[in-house]
Amino acid sequence: MTLLAVRDLGVDFGGPPIVDGVSFSMKRGEIVALVGESGSGKSVASLALMGLLGRGNVTGSAILRLNDGRETDLARISSRERRGVLGRHVSMIFQDPLSSLDPIQTIGAQMREVLSLHCGLRGGKAQARAIELLHEVGIVDPQACLKLIPQRLSGGMRQRVLIAMAIAGEPELLLADEPTTALDVTVQAQVLRLLLSLRARSGMGMIFITHNLAVASSIADRVIVLYAGQVVEDAPADAFFAAPAMPYSKALLGAAPGIDSVFGARRLPILRGQVPAPGERGVGCRFAPRCDAMRPTPCQTQMPDLLNIADGENEVHAVRCGRWEELAR
């Protein structure tokens, strides 16, 4: 059952495209990790999926299939439709849990706002539900928490509050843009466990953006690697961590030993060189300047397509590399 089908998603802000022909799909309840170096376009892509960028900046489509069978194109959503979808069918949590909450309203006021918008709950009922939600995300004393302003909470508690607000409308899809990056390691692991348990309970799908391959390996069902605005590998997590096919993925994993068991804070390893800026991309493979397996042809002359190399009929393991077959031998 497909939850989200993204086709040819592109974003530009008047200049060269930041996100370029991104296509992937995900199933209900699936957790997809979107990984890539800084500047690869992860945040921009996720904002486009939320309909939070101007419609003139976004091309392509992102069809979300709702629980009731209706379909809506997140890339082309009108601002009126968007209000009916955001918070209710799609929610998002962000990296910095301090600045993501209104500093001058209490947690209670901010939660009641969302509950009245999406669940029609007011007064005592909203209060009760808010307590229930905070309890669900592991806040020990929800009643006291509701009376506080964000400043009084720790980073981990703030992120829990934001998660509670994001799941209040029982969304089918949660986008999480580096939700644990600002937290210390133990808290990071707690929040990841919380997200996994929420998925198990409610079956919501999740797009989890991260720099951190250890985090990706501990939470994801699929891994999608973004490089210079393009998807360069899209694989089931097992296959990705066991046998990545794209040289960029290999380089990432090769430089990050022992990632699969750690709930650790290891960030994406440093590779030589940098992601080319949107205006400085050649005609060929965008990874070519940094690739050890690069050959002038085809690498510098032709942009490789994103090919599905999976054996099974219904499986997807897509790779964007002109030499993947040679390299696999």
């Binding site: 209000r83 955001l86 918070g87 929610s91 998002m92 993501s100 909450l101 309203q105 706002e113 409308g169």
Partner: protein
């Protein structure tokens, strides 16, 4: 928390007393340093003799040492005896209070105009940042800011009073007419004059504070959670923009007392600004000094009140 607030208030009160001492000393010294000194008013009268002048000086205690005069004057201030006008011998404090009503009336009316205008202008600019309407707002702001108050007042008087007769050209009320509508008609032009020129000041603050807030992450979070735009403006942007305006208002409010000087003159509005100007003209030093001290006290009271209010209104400061 209550203790923190108390300590804060006490500390501020201490600083304020020092400031008041400084203002009073400077004012007193300036007065005695002016050519002619406090007696200038009397020495100008025709047929005045040195003998008579000395008599007056003696009766007013002006022949005593300066420091003693200052201490006596200061003691009087504390007891509520602010001296007597040279012109009609009325107590200074009651003269000031008699002029205060008109100034407060004009000040508040102009504040409502400038604040609401500035709020609208600032919010529009922030919400439509970079668009044509934002540029238009800034342009209108610059124009309003560059208008000389007296010129604007004269333009209003010419077009809305002399030419059309819609509004009276000056004064507090028509003689013998105590109706509210008459007072409002008299208030309209001076309040508009004083209000309009202050709109861009509030507008710039609101534009900056609202713009800052709109760029914050929590606005994006609210949008990502489907909170409608008008609600975001009402519940998040507006309160965040208003809070830092409280201390600014505390500084701004007392300046209306003296800042209305030009407007009060153009519209012959019998307020404290006019009183100050007149008392200087007549060399009525006790009144001039009184107004000076009165504004100083007001400045301190307003800024202290504003800070206390800010503390009470902003939950982040109630740690």
């Amino acid at each position: 928390m209550a203790e923190g607030l108390f300590a804060f208030a006490a500390r501020r009160a201490g600083v304020n007393v020092l400031l008041l001492m400084l203002v009073s000393l400077t004012g007193f010294m300036l007065l005695h340093a002016t050519p002619g000194g406090p007696l200038a008013q009397f020495s100008l009268s025709p047929g005045m003799t040195t003998e008579r002048l000395n008599q007056i000086a003696h009766s007013m205690g002006l022949d005593q040492p300066l420091w003693l005069q200052y201490v006596k004057w200061l003691g009087g201030l504390l007891k509520g005896d602010w001296g007597h006008s040279y012109r009609d011998h009325a107590p200074v404090l009651s003269i000031i209070v008699a002029h205060l009503g008109a100034t407060v009336e004009l000040g508040l009316a102009s504040l409502v105009i400038s604040f609401l205008g500035g709020l609208a202008m600032g919010l529009i600019g922030a919400l439509r940042a970079g668009e044509a309407i934002d540029a238009l707002c800034s342009l209108v702001g610059v124009i309003l800011l560059s208008l000389p108050t007296f010129w604007l007042g004269l333009v209003f008087i010419y077009f809305l009073s002399v030419r059309t007769g819609w509004f009276p050209a000056g004064g507090l009320m028509a003689p013998g007419d105590a109706s509210a509508s008459d007072r409002l008609r008299h208030l309209a032009l001076p309040a508009m004059t004083l209000g309009l020129v202050s709109i861009p000041v509030w507008g710039a603050y609101v534009r900056a504070f609202a713009g800052d807030t709109l760029n914050q992450d929590h606005i994006r979070t609210a949008r990502a959670l489907g909170v409608p735009g008008w609600r975001i403006v009402l519940r998040r942007v507006l309160p965040a923009a208003l809070l830092p305006l409280i201390p600014i208002a505390g500084v701004y409010l007392p300046t209306l007392l003296s800042g209305a000087l030009v407007t009060e003159t153009v519209f012959t509005w019998p307020g404290v600004g006019r009183l100050f100007l007149d008392s200087l003209q007549y060399r009525d030093y006790p009144v001039a000094l009184g107004v000076l001290m009165f504004s100083a006290v007001l400045v301190l009271i307003c800024s202290l009140a504003a800070e206390l209010l800010h503390h009470a209104a902003d939950p982040r400061l109630r740690a």
